[in-house]
Structures are given as structure tokens and as C-alpha cells.
């Protein structure tokens, strides 16, 4: 292992665990600090740069950032990043005059986006300010895609969606509502400079077991949710079973409770630790009286005289072989009486409208062949993103796909190679204001994670549109922000300044630092540090040789609190706290 090159933005980026884990690499610590300062507008705008939909994602994000949060490794729970994001969105003022605007002078390029979901809207958001003529085709009459039709309004109010979709569309996108694209050939014939397919994975998976087609009260989850949204469905039968335990299943069971069901049970094939639904969604559903049943595999629907009366399940027990593979054995079968069943076992893509002779290749699973980096299909100028590209993922991934595809589309339209991706850059500026004074609050706040207030159950069930989570108060938010360890304020070391006095090592509360003999093998180095460095996901920093003894300074990034005590106790400022700002490339924005 040579000395660590911190001039590569990736090193410090990885230290910011939340930002690294976020598909869109949102600058979490900085927008949290802005919330703590009550600067909600600035926080919202910073957030919006990367994730485009702070209000929507602040309520619905899958939160890949939170399991990654360093606070979760030194304290019981991570920072409530997602719901803090919502605070900035809820409390912001009018920011419309600070949003990007499309120039009056267009660049003469026309692009077509298929579907008005999160990924297409992100593409529009990135390309409109560059002067593109953007046309969005949407089969429904409103924008938002799955965010609108599949996420119930008690989790995501329509107003939030309208605002954030509007910020993009109002920049001047041409919206073709109620216009499903029925032929790719036809669209291509219109001579667009680039086409983006962001049409999602709109087809709910079937469960073709005996009895499936014999009763009318068996529904496909996403279709049923959409029908509830359009008010085509206003009630459901009293006893409802949900098959599947992903987030759609959670939305189905909770919506059922609001549509007149009196008993709702969710059935999963496997044990709880394998559930796909986010843990907080499971808790919220259970709080509302939904029962979750593990280890039940559906066997058949029981239909009597055209009426669904129950469902038979096999009860499974799971064992794990030495390779960690799960194997099930049937214990017995049970019949659960019910009046309606909602299937929420996944979604498939479907591209019947893309002719197979357009140069867009499809693989054996009828999925388009799409480049993982450029999002380009096998036909130059046609790009895929969101769930349409590689099957269902979450909203924040759709947003990131949109950003990357927009970069490719811009490169394509300006005649450049789409594989030559623009570089990321960084700003690294000392956080020092004076002696023992930093531009961030470096003290450790021992407060536990803030608790989200929920609407009372009775009020909740009065209408589908009553939002359950009430959001954090400004006071709660300010305290929760202080739980953030400010991982973006980096411990930056200059080996030529070090006099090897040990002060940093002695003061470090979490034993991150060691001065030792350099070792080429990082695995060996990990074994002779001040404290065991067992988290292999976390980087080990190694300095160049020190002036007096030629030893090296080693830092295990794992549980550094970024408290700045090493820098405060350093007599020569060899350690400094430096604020790291990742400069991400976007379409037309590059950092060399």
C-alpha cells in the first residue's frame, strides 16, 4: 500500500458514507447544516441539484444513505437524513426565482422523453437549461409516473408532486399528456436528435395458480393502486390478503385499511430479515393494524360459485446450507378465509411498442441491451433509464439514471463520444476560522434519533389523502442535524509538517490514528493499529514517510467522529479539518 492519494476526489467522497451510498451522491452533510441554520431555501436548492425532488424523496426515498450513515456505527441509529430532507422542502419559501431557467435562445436540438416519471423529468431538468427543445410523452393526464399513481397520497400529497414536477415542466417542456407512444418507429421518424425511454416497469407480476381467474376480487397491486388514485375504486371487501412483502405490498395493505377493509394480512414466503419492504414501512403498516405473516407460500385461491372465499398456503420452514443458500420444506397447508387478494410480488417491463427492427436490441428476457454507464441502447441516440432500463429500482436510482442519460444525450447531440464521461472535481477548503473555532459544530451531540410524529389512527383512516407523517418541527430538526458527524469536513494530513508528538493519537476519542512502520499490505497494516480495523468496507489512510522517524501516519476511517480534536491538538497544523465539496458532472457541467 503506497501513501494515499487524497487529490483523487473519490477518496474523500467515500469518507462521506451517506453521499457515497446515495445513487445521486447528494451532499447530505452540507444540506443538513443549512437546515440546522434555518436556511431552508438554500438547503432545498442544494438538495435539488442532485436529487431533483427533495419534497418527494423526503417522504418516499428508499434511504440508501441511512444504513451507510457513520452515526449508525458509533451510536444506535443513523441520522434521520430522509425526513430532514423533507423539513427543508416543507419549510422553504418561494424559491422559483432561483431555479434554473431555459435560455430564450434555444440550441436547435430536439429530444423526446417517453414517460413523465422521475427519470424522464430529471433528463428534462438537466437539458432544458442548456437550450434543448424537450417533448415529454405521457400516457396519463398528469406528470409523476409511479410517484403519482402507485404511491398513495397518505404518504405523498399531490401538492408536493405538482410543485416539484412543475419546477421542471415550467422551464418550458412540451407536455404531450394522454399520448402513449405506440410505435418507436413512428417516434423515430419524427426526427428527434435523441430519444429517452423512461417509461418504467408498468406491468405487475402475475401469480398463475389454481383459481386465479375464477374470481373478480383478485387484483394486481400497482394497477389497483392506480385505480384507487383515479377513484375508479372506492372501496374493498372486508377481509383482504396481500401477497408479497415489498414496498408496493405495504402501500396496498395500508390503502386497503383506508378503503373499508377490516382485516388485512400480508403474506411472505420467507422470514422477516429477507423482506424487501423498508423496515419503517413494515412498522408503519403494523401500527395501522396490518398483520404480517412469514413463511407462507400461496398454493391456490378458493373460489365458491364465483366468489373468493379464501386462499390456501403452504407453510414453509427454511434451512440454510453451508454455502448460505436457503432451502424450504413444506410443513403443512393452511386455509385463510378472505374476500379479496392483492398481488404485489413484483413488476415487469414491457416494450410491445418498440419494434424489434429499429436497431434497439433486446435480450433473451425481452429487456433492451443498455450500456450501464452511458444508458445508450444499441441504437445510437436512443437511451434508457429508470425502471425501463434494468427493471424496478427505486426513485433515487431513476433520478441518477436521468442525470447520466442527460450527460450522454448532451454528448450525443453535440457530436461527442458518449463514453468519454466528464470528470468529477472537488473543492477542499480549510474549515478553520480561528483557534479552536471551525465553520461547523464539531461537538458530539448524544441525543437519540428524533421520533417522527404520526397522525392519529382515527383521522388517518378518514380519507386516503390524510398524510400520516407530520414532519419534524424546526426544533426537532435542529437537534437531529446536530447528530450528523459532518463527515464531509475531512481530516486532512500534511506529512511534512508533522513533528510526531503523538498529540492527535492521544486525543482521538475513537482510536482512529496510529503512527507505525509502513506496510505494503493493507491487510497487515490493519492488524497493528491503535484499535482493530475490522470494517473492511472502510478505507485506511496512509501518509508518506514522516520527517523524524520515517514512520507513517495511518488513519482508519471507520469510526472517525470528525470532531476535529486531532487538528485542535496538532501544534503544527499537520492535521487540518477541510471541508470537502464533491463537484459532480452534469450535462453541460464539467470539472477539470
Amino acid at each position: 500500500m503506497g501513501s494515499t492519494d487524497v487529490s483523487d476526489p473519490r477518496y474523500y467522497h467515500k469518507v462521506v458514507d451517506c453521499q457515497w451510498a446515495c445513487p445521486a451522491h447528494t451532499n447530505v452533510p452540507q444540506y443538513l447544516r443549512l437546515i440546522g441554520q434555518g436556511r431552508y431555501d438554500e438547503s432545498y436548492l442544494l438538495n435539488r441539484q442532485s436529487n431533483v425532488f427533495p419534497g418527494i424523496l423526503g417522504r418516499t426515498c428508499d434511504r440508501p444513505c441511512e444504513p451507510a450513515c457513520r452515526r449508525g456505527r458509533v451510536d444506535e441509529k443513523p441520522v434521520a437524513i430522509c425526513r430532514l430532507k423533507r423539513v427543508a422542502a416543507d419549510l422553504r419559501g418561494d424559491i422559483t426565482d432561483r431555479l434554473p431557467k431555459a435560455p430564450a435562445q434555444k440550441n436547435g436540438k430536439r429530444v423526446a422523453l417517453i414517460g413523465a416519471g422521475p427519470s424522464s423529468l430529471t433528463v428534462a431538468n438537466d437539458l432544458l437549461p442548456l437550450g434543448y427543445d424537450v417533448t415529454i410523452y405521457e400516457k396519463h393526464t398528469q406528470p409523476g409516473g409511479l410517484m403519482r399513481f402507485n404511491i398513495p397520497s397518505f404518504r405523498l400529497p399531490a401538492q408536493v408532486l405538482d410543485d416539484e414536477c412543475g419546477y421542471i415542466i415550467d422551464q418550458g417542456a412540451t407536455m404531450k399528456y394522454g399520448t402513449p407512444v405506440e410505435s418507436m418507429k413512428g417516434l423515430l421518424a419524427e426526427g428527434y436528435d435523441a430519444v429517452y425511454v423512461g417509461s418504467g416497469a408498468p406491468q405487475g407480476k402475475e401469480l398463475d395458480i389454481p383459481g386465479r381467474w375464477d374470481a373478480k376480487t383478485i387484483h394486481i397491486g400497482i394497477d389497483w393502486l392506480a385505480n384507487v388514485h383515479f377513484e375508479h375504486i372506492e372501496k374493498i371487501e372486508p377481509r383482504v390478503l396481500i401477497i408479497g412483502v415489498g414496498n408496493t405490498a405495504m402501500d396496498c395493505c395500508r390503502t386497503s385499511m383506508r378503503m373499508g377493509a377490516t382485516s388485512v394480512k400480508v403474506f411472505a414466503r420467507r422470514g422477516r430479515k429477507h423482506f424487501k419492504a423498508s423496515p419503517w414501512e413494515l412498522t408503519d403498516a403494523e401500527e395501522e393494524g396490518v398483520e404480517i405473516m412469514e413463511n407462507h407460500a400461496p398454493k391456490r385461491f378458493i373460489v365458491e360459485n364465483g366468489t373468493l372465499t379464501g386462499m390456501e398456503f403452504e407453510r414453509l420452514s427454511w434451512t440454510e446450507d453451508e454455502k448460505g443458500r436457503q432451502k424450504s420444506t413444506v410443513v403443512d397447508t393452511v386455509v385463510i378465509p378472505c374476500d379479496a387478494v392483492i398481488l404485489a410480488i413484483g413488476q415487469d417491463n414491457a416494450f410491445p411498442w418498440i419494434e424489434r427492427d429499429t436497431g434497439i436490441e433486446f435480450n433473451e428476457w425481452e429487456m433492451p441491451t443498455v450500456d450501464k454507464v452511458t444508458h445508450q441502447s444499441t441504437r445510437a441516440g436512443v437511451f434508457f433509464g429508470g425502471d425501463a432500463a434494468w427493471g424496478p429500482q427505486n426513485i433515487i436510482w431513476a433520478v441518477e439514471h436521468g442525470h447520466q442519460a442527460a450527460i450522454s444525450m448532451h454528448l450525443h447531440c453535440s457530436g461527442q463520444d458518449v463514453t468519454l464521461r466528464p470528470a468529477a472535481g472537488m473543492n477542499l477548503v480549510s474549515a478553520k476560522l480561528g483557534l479552536g473555532s471551525w465553520n461547523y459544530a464539531n461537538d458530539y451531540n448524544p441525543s437519540p434519533r428524533a421520533h417522527m410524529q404520526h397522525e392519529e389512527l382515527v383521522k388517518r383512516f378518514s380519507a386516503v389523502s390524510v398524510e400520516v407523517e407530520l414532519g419534524f418541527t424546526p426544533e426537532q430538526a435542529a437537534r437531529e442535524v446536530q447528530r450528523c458527524l459532518n463527515c464531509d469536513v475531512q481530516t486532512h494530513f500534511t506529512d511534512s509538517l508533522c513533528i510526531e508528538c503523538d498529540a492527535c493519537i492521544d486525543v482521538c476519542p475513537t482510536s482512529c490514528l496510529t503512527m507505525t512502520v509502513a506496510d505494503d499490505d493493507v491487510a497487515v497494516l490493519r492488524t497493528h493499529l491503535s484499535a482493530p480495523a475490522e470494517n473492511l468496507d472502510q478505507a485506511i489512510y496512509m501518509s508518506g514517510p514522516l520527517m523524524q522517524t520515517r514512520r507513517v501516519m495511518v488513519k482508519d476511517e471507520d469510526v472517525c467522529l470528525h470532531c476535529g480534536l486531532c487538528a485542535e491538538r496538532c501544534p503544527t497544523a499537520a492535521w487540518d479539518m477541510r471541508q470537502f465539496d464533491l463537484l459532480q458532472p452534469y450535462a453541460g457541467v464539467e470539472h477539470r
Binding site: R73, Y444, S511, P571
Partner: protein, 351 residues
Amino acid sequence: MTSITKPPVRHPGLPRNALGLTKRDYEGAMSTLCAGCGHDSVTAALIQSFWELDLPPDRAAKMSGIGCSSKTTAYFMKESHGFNSVHGRMPSVTSGANAANRDLTYIGISGDGDSLSIGLGQLCHAIRRNVNMLYMLENNGVYGLTKGQFSASADIGSMSKKGEANEQAPIDPVLLALTLGASFVARSFSGDKTQLVPIIKAGLSHRGFALIDVISPCVSFNDHDGSTKSYAYMREHEMEAVDADFVPLRREIILPEDHAAVTVVQLHDGSTVRLRSTSPDYNPTDREKAYKHVRSCQKRGEVATGLLFIDEAGRDLHDMNRTVKTPLAELPFETLCPGKGAMDALMERYR
């Protein structure tokens, strides 16, 4: 001084000792010394040693006088006893405390001013009495609290920060202790914990007066070119005479491969200290040779470090005064203070 106190969060994998404590449990208040002060490293080495020895904090007493060094007792083992005495008077206060309660572990922290100027007589007599204590002399060659005047340990020719040379002969605490009959004499360097920690552990287990002269650079007033007590000077001129390795009673002793060169000294509590001379003619149990070695190093401009001399046969304060085995503090009141009748009878004997 730091802007915040040390967060209570510790590394989740931090090991625990036999008492179930982590190193962090042996910490004290935040240091208010200058950033980079050698004394903070000495504090860290003490914390490491206490932790490794499973020392119960409530069975220890931290004793100090006045000065930068004497502040440091606040920075470790916040749950132990302590006494911050008048300038230079720590040795006699410790003698009194030790006389009253012989079972506590006494950790005296002093500096070159506190020990070699105002408290020189106190130090000499504590050595003569062989008080059972660890005596850490944090030696930086300057009066740091009064902005860097030469102290009694400054070497001839050593330069002040402003560029003036010292002309008075230094008092070397190691030579002083050897001549006064000290039974445990060591010198080390705050920037070398691998050497310092085993020496501290041996000193804590030694029965009798254990002097450790720790060169502990003053970053603010004595860490420049021309200083003979700077980090850089020590790293260039340190001459380790003896490599000490302390082996506590409970741990199996594994001798190094070149065991022929190792002297094993058994301490009173049954633990051992293994001493490996770095030169073939050095014997750490020979007081004359130790004295000669330190002097010859001095002549060559080197600083002799290591556990330079150890004598486990010495008699301590309590042996010499033939006191009872039970600490006076734990004797029943009637035994300790037998009343007027006993007093009168005693006085009769001197008539």
C-alpha cells in the same frame, strides 16, 4: 485548549482489561496544556499502563505540585484519589499519605522546576526514604508556565527560543537518584511510548521509589533548533541502554530468541521485568556501571534512556520504620489511638 471535551463515544472494538474497563475509562478531564505538549503523551502512556496493569482507579492516588507537569494529574484516572500540593512539596505529602495508607498505588507527577529547583531537597529525601511510589519527572528544560526561562535541567549550551545559550551546569535527575541510592532509575522520552509504557508498568510494580525522568518536549518554548530537549534532538540523540519489557504476574513469559542477553528481574508482586542491554557490557543491576554509562553518553552528546538501574532488594519507608502491615488508615481507632493511659506509659519510657 480544545473547543470541546472529548466525545464519550469510543471505538466499538476497544479491548477491555480484567476489570472490564477500556482505556477510555482511565481518562480524566481534557488537557489545557499547549497542543503538542509532551506531557499529554506521558499522560497517554500512563493511561495505557494503568489499563494494561488492571489498576483499580479507586486504589490509586495521584500526587502533584505546581507547574505544567503537575496539572496533568487532572487528565487521567478521574476516579482515583489525588492531592495537588504546594510547589515542590509533592514528595513529602506523598510520604505522609504513604505512611498512612501503604496499600494505595502512588503516582507522583512533577517537572524539572518542581523537582530540581524549588523541590530539590524534597526529591532527595523521598529517594532516601525510599517511599513506595512512581515518580514521573516530566523534564523539558524550561519554565514553560512563565514563558520559557532555562530550568535547572537545561544543558550547557542549550539555546533559548530567543537565541541565548545556557551557561549553568544542569542537574541530571538520573545521576542524582543513582548517587542517592534510588532503587529504580529510568529515563525515557514522551515521543517513544513503546519504550515508556513497559518502564512505567515496571515502576508501578517496583516496591520503593521509582524515578522515571521523561524528556517531554515543551512545544511552545523548547522545541526549536539549538534545544537539547526537542522532539527532533531526542530522536537523533537518544541512546537506549536497556530495552525493558514488563511481564505481569498473570501472563506467560515468552523469552525472546536471544534470551542469553536478557536479564530477568523479579519484582515484589511476582511480576517480572526483562531487561535486554543494547550493548554487551551494560548491566542494569550494577549501580556503578549505570552511573558510568549515563556520564559517558553525556560526554558524547547522547541521552541515555531505558530502565538504567533496578534493585529489588531495597527496603522501603515502611521496612525502615518497622510499621505494621495493615495500613494505618485501616487500623481500628482504639489500636491507632490507644488513649491517654498508653500515651502516658510511652512517655514514661523516656524519663
